[in-house]
């Protein structure tokens, strides 16, 4: 009898535990272990002087998980607002998830002052939806950029996300930015794009 009770307790604990794990589940969307996964520098950005990404590739220089990450070579000359942007186009329904995140790194010899943000293209109108803030990057250290996708989130510029918002995501962009300074010519790395 005692043995049966113990078994029930263990089973309940296991069930609750598995539910908690499911609730906090992370889905890796792109880890760049097998190539670019469809990521590219958008064509329009080559025609805009403010955007200065030059080359995209996978690299084993750094990785926040696994062996490789996305490497983007940028030429930010300073003096005006400039960015380097990469994107992937894919129809995604993130209804079960509450946050989007990715890891970004600038090399140890990069200057202080660069920032990064995630931008999504969402819905029928392909609405360009920037994060409401940019995250300061620390040279040599992986920084995690996170934004809440749930209704009421203040993480998106001029938009209050609805349930439809995260159900129809069409592009993910990652952008590093320099607002007049610093100037930076070199690579930055993106890895572990995920929803949680």
């Amino acid at each position: 009898m005692m043995k049966a009770k113990t078994l029930v307790v263990i089973l309940v604990a296991l069930l609750l535990g598995s539910q908690m794990i499911a609730y906090g589940e992370t889905k890796i969307l792109y880890d760049f272990e097998n190539g670019l996964d469809g990521w590219e520098i958008p064509d329009w950005s080559f025609e805009d002087d403010n955007y200065r990404a030059e080359k995209i590739d996978v690299s084993e220089d750094f990785a926040s998980s696994g062996k490789s990450s996305l490497r983007i070579d940028a030429d930010l000359t300073g003096g005006s607002w400039q960015g380097a942007i990469v994107e992937v186009m894919e129809y995604m329904d993130w209804t079960p998830y509450s946050t989007i995140a990715c890891d970004v790194l600038i090399p140890p010899d990069a200057p202080e002052g660069l920032k990064a943000k995630i931008i999504l293209t969402v819905g029928e109108k392909w609405s360009w939806t920037e994060m409401s803030r940019s995250v300061k990057l620390t040279p040599g250290g992986w920084m995690t950029i996170t934004a809440n996708l749930l209704p009421g989130s203040m993480d998106w510029k001029r938009i209050n996300p609805t349930d439809e918002f995260r159900a129809d995501v069409r592009k993910i962009n990652v952008r590093i930015e320099s607002n007049k300074k610093p100037a930076f010519t070199g690579p930055f790395y993106v890895d572990r794009v995920r929803v949680e």
Partner: protein
Amino acid sequence: MDRKWSLIILCVALVFSITGCGKKRGPGNAGGEDPVCPVVPSPSSDPITEERVLFSFEQGTNGFDVPEWFREKPENAAVRIGVSKKYSSEGSQSLEVESNFPGQIWSASMVELEQYLDLTPYRQISVDVLAPRAAPMGLKAKIILTIGDQWKWTEMICSVPLAPGEWATVNASVEPGSMSWKRTEVGESFRSDIRKIVVRVESNKSPIYKGPVYIDNIRVGR
């Protein structure tokens, strides 16, 4: 002759009173020292019944930092920022700003976050600020917002004195008609396009203080 001198003295007095010459001044404080809060009436007397914490510093600095443009100025009193478990007005951590107010000049420890915020549903923005027990009397705190397309620097019209060892709450109304903001007519668009939140702890020539100040629980209410 007496009449002529009286006229000259009157003119000089007039010029002094118009220009404000002789009054205490600090940067962004052209009209003299700010009044002490809470003398500013809110447009609405309804109580705040619901609050939302925007930044609690439980997971880190939430991106707050000393503004780049202010770092090299002699008025900058902020030495280093981080989070601390020493004090918190809510939760278990707050933002700690190690400071050095040299006295003799107006100086300030200032932290900011650049983030687009639409506070349309809310009537008030608040922050808790603490100077530790070892700090002298005389430090004050205020909120500054950067607003709209022109990134307009918008200071609170008054400052809140910090009593050493006690959390002080700095409140400002963001409702249309609010009188909380210096030289600003607050319309509906004011709260819908906030681009930076700045919290500033200041010493106007005195006191001299070397040590931390703490910031916590930046929130909005309605």
